[in-house]
Symmetry: C2
Subunit: 118 residues, 2 copies
DNA sequence: CACCAATATAGCAATTCTCATATATATGTC
DNA sequence: GACATATATATGAGAATTGCTATATTGGTG
């Protein structure tokens, strides 16, 4: 693993993280954990409008978080990579730690005040 | 774990992920894996200007990714939570999978074309 | 072909990010 | 107090993100 590959990795990984960094998108990802879903079902599942749902899906597909396949008039979206699955596992493990009290909500939820520029 | 907590979790987690979703910030986080560092050292380590470095650090602190303490004229930043450490572990594990060929770069790096709206 | 259902895209306004430059603050030393 | 060092903040410009409304596309059915 050389420096160049490191840079590539950071670039790639940060895109993935950024694409995950939106509450609705995170919900979508969770939804897809159990398998592929159509746009319609995803939309129902998270309660967003159809265009916004589509936009999030496209965004995630462009960042290689999701893959899709068409069947008739439907499009099925699914998790695209092992990395996503690993990250999801990690998130779920954290959520479990919260439930068991092993981790505190304050450990991940900022109560900090923001200045204008964050 | 009820619905409300889920929402809180998604909100919190997505902020964390978003704050991690920037190549330079990811580098900073990696740098801090081995322990706290001053702003100066971090700046050297990643090669950014002092103000930009400070801004990234503030952003991450506001999103509870980092903690800081002052000593003399220096400020030491460090990883703020177990969640971050877990996510870091996960990322490093993925990087290892890349090295061993267990995972392919294409699994996390998008080659997809972008439309105007991503 | 007309029409419907499912999904995608365009275009726009508001907000947020990111980086750069300039300036401020705080601490330590002489 | 004058000054240097380390860090933070203000501010502004350009880009990216987000969600909305309207419209387009595509496949299936009669």
């Amino acid at each position: 693993m050389n420096a160049v590959n490191n840079i590539v990795f950071f670039e790639a990984a940060s895109k993935v993280l950024k694409a995950l960094g939106h509450p609705e998108r995170l919900k979508i990802i969770e939804l897809l954990q159990t398998g592929e879903q159509t746009v319609g079902r995803i939309q129902q599942g998270i309660g967003l409008s159809q265009p916004v749902t589509s936009q999030h899906l496209r965004f995630m597909q462009n960042n290689n978080i999701l893959a899709s396949r068409k069947e008739g008039t439907s499009t099925y979206y699914s998790l695209a990579s092992d990395m996503i699955r690993k990250l999801l596992e990690c998130m779920n493990s954290c959520r479990l730690d919260l439930e068991t009290g092993e981790m505190q909500m304050k450990d991940i939820f900022p109560e900090s005040k923001r200045s204008k520029h964050e």
